[in-house]
């Protein structure tokens, strides 16, 4: 048990959750006492547009979240003065207004917002110094305001009507709302907007089942948040689950148990307790067990492609961990405890580069790892600019947009060009040889053999695609992931369904209609969905235009074991076959992978 807490990233999480216990417990008690649960939930979720802005313009997310919380609280207070309005409907309306603003900003103003998802969920495993500082500030303010205003907040909580006599009502309420907002903002990075009540409401509500004395509630809630946070963090590392959700479930279960014990009869509650203990024990016993030390070179790869290339070169001389799993959307990645542990132990980390794995730096600094990081996208010969937001828009218009955007970003899907892959293989070989000079010969041999296969595959694909007249080489893909492939083989991407490199952007009816016009005009025969992206939109476009969606491509990730796209070579063959079949109406393929 104590071993877990010797890991540096777990220690940081522990410090954060223990610090947060103070504001979350104190303010949580007031939230429960005063019925502010909806407000605290809403103000956390309403941070979304602030986070998108912070991400897009490039300032501190905490500042963005707090700014959005301020706008939220101000609007709610302002609208509350309109006759016949009710607080809860205003809270809901302002909340959805904030969310819609966030989606519009993410889809139409800033092309990408890949880190926003992380903040909606948050993680105790990626806590930085600023988060701890913010938690400390919130803790100090929570103590100060509770000491100063506590008795008056209490008076108002018990006597809604007579409260006007006790001091200045607006000022007091305002102070409470500000501390709630600050507490919520401080907890966002640790647990995320949608689970915020797990720290702020559930523990305080649990304590209130046991005692109605306010002093005890305050102290008890702080202690319980600390306890549940520590337990949840420990359990999440042992079971390799995200800590936020673990804490939410653990505190929910404890609430249910306390409810059973305090409200049901003694006999029934004992039975319930026994069942829960047995179930809980089973869960904990079923998990655990750590990897062994093999003495091999420990290598971590971020994406599935980087992982496959590293495996091809490293063979059985390296102990390889690939962080992203096949067929999962890298845009939705949330660090798991095992990922951070693997990075902490690693000698060498291969990054694929760009926004697909931009979380790598964070994990490396959190884990206290001294591994050498190799960004494979740095040394590739063919580089394309990313964020081609409206490829199918009119030329002049799109150029203007480009000028505004920070255009330095690289399209991270470089591995769809074999020439780049060959260079990356060379780089992997060099790095491995440098780290383990004894095996340099072994690595060179494997890399050379693999490079030959890559070059051969490149020739085969080019030859096969040459059979299609250039005028007919037109495709529509799900999101903009195939720029390198189409450039290499002279194919024109006439449009993409999701209008940005990130899969999180939401399309507009106008863009989709324009795309359908293009498909009809250019006589595009197939829209290619991707394995890791839900196909609803591609299907909608296909239904309208009569294009086929039978041919699925591997875009952001390789396929799971046993699928044609399990390895990079397999992925390229499968993609080529499907693109060929799509362009030729199912008449011709190259490698026969789709049976």
């Amino acid at each position: 048990m104590l071993e877990t807490f010797s890991l540096p990233f777990v220690q940081k999480g522990l410090i954060e959750v223990l610090l947060l216990a103070i504001p979350a417990g104190l303010i949580g008690s007031w939230v429960v006492l005063r019925g502010l649960a909806f407000f605290s939930h809403a103000i956390g979720t309403a941070a979304f547009p602030g986070l998108v802005l912070a991400d897009g313009i490039g300032f501190s997310p905490a500042l963005g979240a707090f700014g959005a919380a301020g706008v939220f609280a101000g609007l709610t207070a302002l609208l509350g003065r309109v006759k016949r309005s009710s607080t809860d409907s205003i809270t809901a309306t302002v909340l959805v207004g904030c969310l819609a603003t966030g989606v519009l900003l993410a889809s139409d103003v800033f092309g990408s917002s890949s880190s926003v998802d992380n903040l909606l969920f948050g993680s105790l495993l990626s806590i930085g110094g600023n988060d701890i500082l913010l938690a400390a500030v919130a803790a100090v303010l929570a103590i100060a305001t509770t000491v100063l205003f506590g008795h008056r907040w209490l008076a108002r909580g018990f006597d809604e009507t007579g409260s006007a006599q006790v001091g200045n009502r607006h000022l007091l309420d305002g102070a409470l709302l500000v501390v709630v907002a600050l507490t919520v903002t401080a907890s966002l990075n640790a647990i995320g907007a949608l689970l915020i009540s797990a720290l702020i409401v559930i523990p305080a509500a649990t304590i209130r089942l046991v005692t109605k004395r306010v002093g005890l509630q305050l102290a008890g809630s702080v202690a319980l948040v600390a306890l549940e946070g520590t337990f949840g963090l420990w359990l999440s590392v042992e079971t390799n689950a995200p800590p936020g959700a673990t804490i939410a479930v653990a505190s929910g279960v404890l609430f249910a148990l306390t409810l059973a014990v305090t409200r049901l009869g003694r006999r029934r509650s004992r039975a319930a307790l026994a069942v829960a203990l047995i179930a809980g024990g089973g869960v904990i016993a079923g998990c655990g067990g750590t990897g062994s030390d093999s003495g091999q070179l420990k290598v971590v790869a971020t994406t599935t492609q980087a992982g496959d290339l590293a495996a091809q070169v490293g063979g059985d001389k390296i102990d390889l961990t690939t962080i992203l799993k096949p067929n999962t959307d890298p845009h939705e990645y949330e660090p798991r405890p095992s990922d951070v542990t693997a990075v902490a132990d690693a000698d060498l980390v291969f990054r694929s580069g760009g926004h697909l794995d931009e979380w790598t730096e964070q994990i490396i600094s959190d884990s206290g790892s001294d591994a050498k990081v190799v960004d494979l996208s740095q040394g590739i010969p063919v580089k394309l600019e990313g964020e081609e937001e409206h490829e199918h828009a009119e030329e002049g218009h799109s150029e203007e947009e480009h000028a505004e955007e920070p255009g330095e970003e690289l399209d991270p899907h470089w591995w769809h060009d074999p020439v780049n892959v060959k260079a990356a293989v060379g780089e992997i070989e060099e790095s491995l040889a440098e780290a383990e000079p004894d095996d340099a010969g072994y690595f060179r041999e494997r890399a050379t053999a693999y490079e030959a296969r890559v070059a051969e595959l490149n020739r085969q694909i080019a030859k096969c695609i040459d059979a299609v007249p250039p005028a007919e080489r037109k495709i529509v893909t799900d999101h903009d992931a195939f720029g390198y492939y189409t450039k290499r083989y002279g194919i024109e991407t006439v449009g993409t369904v999701i209008p940005a490199l990130t899969t999180q952007a939401q399309p507009s009816a106008g863009d989709l209609a324009e795309l359908e016009d293009t498909i009809r005009k250019e006589n595009v025969k197939a829209v290619f969905p991707e394995e890791s992206v839900p196909p609803a939109l591609s299907n909608a476009v296909a239904r309208d235009t009569g294009a086929s969606t039978d041919y699925t491509l591997y875009g952001d990730t390789l396929g799971p074991e046993g699928s044609p796209g399990e390895t990079w070579l397999g992925m390229m063959k499968s993609n080529t076959d499907n693109i060929m079949l799509g362009m030729t109406d199912g008449r011709k393929d190259c490698f026969g992978t789709s049976g």
Binding site: V32, G35, L36, A37, F38, S40, H41, V82, K83, R84, S85, S86, D88, S89, I90, A92, T93, V96, G97, L99, A100, T101, V103, D108, L120, F121, L194, L195, I196, S197, V201, I202, A205, A241, P242, G244, A245, I247, G252, F255, L259, K325, N327, T328, H331, E332, T503, Q506, P507, S508, A509, G510, L512, A513, E516, V533, A536, A540, R543, D544
Partner: protein, 280 residues
């Protein structure tokens, strides 16, 4: 002008989006009035998050997603009612406890490698991606919602207006709030595929809240709420078509603007036409 209005209809995706916002608008406008009357906005906003474990479990078990969602959301509604009753806590606290616990459970379930990708899509939905089958299902649920509201209208109204008088008339207000929660759950199911988890609350609360600002009588409020929801829905789709902005978010943005306009009107209009209590 006519051409301007007809042009988006040439495209299947925007046509289906218009049908979908019509369905969501009617359901949301009608049920929203009860949400406002029973003051269950928080439930309306949060029940959608309670969908997650049901949806994930259904995809893992290979069951129809809608079925999983329905089971999950009804379970959430029952749990909220139980906690509310046994813990004697405010409804707010009960909702926060139950929904957060369930959502955490859903996140853990979604970690299974068998879970298909697209949790983010569940959260935001895709108005332009709805299929004909989904439209039919939504229409079916909408009919069920309208029928139950029509049948129970008087009882809902009696219990909603006077929680004290309810039991003497042989009606328990807590049972009737349970009925409202189930209606909310059904409406969430209509809207979740189009607007997604986070935004579906908009159509359930905002139109009715805006209508409430303008009238004290229930029937006009109902008509006004449905009209607002429909107009905002259609306007949102046209905005998304002509200005090329995200579809679902446009609909919600128009709804919120409508609410702000109603708030301004309610403040600026002469006091005389605004009596203070809700009458039938």
């Amino acid at each position: 002008m006519i051409d301007w209005l007809l042009e988006p209809l040439r495209f299947g995706a925007s046509l289906r989006a218009l049908i979908e916002v019509t369905l969501i608008g009617v359901a949301g406008g009608v049920v929203g009035c009860w949400v406002i009357l029973y003051r269950v906005s928080y439930s309306a906003e949060s029940l959608a998050h309670g969908l997650l474990p049901g949806l994930v479990a259904a995809t893992l078990l290979g069951l129809p997603i809608l079925l999983g969602g329905a089971v999950g959301i009804v379970a959430a509604a029952i749990l909220i009612a139980l906690v509310n009753r046994f813990a004697r806590e405010s409804a707010d606290t009960a909702i926060a406890v139950v929904i957060t616990g369930l959502f955490g459970f859903g996140v853990l379930l979604a970690l299974s490698p068998d879970t298909p990708p697209g949790t983010a899509e569940l959260l935001f939905g895709d108005l332009l991606g709805v299929s004909d089958t989904e439209l039919l299902t939504s229409a079916g649920i909408l009919l069920a919602v309208i029928a139950s509201v029509w049948l129970m209208h008087d009882r809902l109204l009696a219990a909603g207006f006077d929680a004290g008088a309810g039991p003497s008339l042989g009606l328990s207000p807590s049972v009737m709030s349970g009925v409202v929660l189930v209606l909310v759950a059904l409406t969430v199911l209509v809207g979740v595929q189009g607007l997604g988890n986070l935004l579906v609350a908009a159509v359930l609360v905002t139109p009715a809240a805006a209508a409430r600002l303008l009238t004290d009588r229930f029937r006009p409020m109902l008509i006004l709420a449905v009209a607002t929801a429909l107009l905002a829905g259609v306007a949102g789709v046209y905005l998304s078509y002509y200005l090329k902005v995200a579809a679902g978010a446009s609909v919600v943005a128009v709804l919120v603007l409508a609410y702000l306009a109603a708030a301004a009107a309610a403040t600026l209009l002469p006091r005389a036409i605004r009596p203070t209590s809700l009458n039938t």
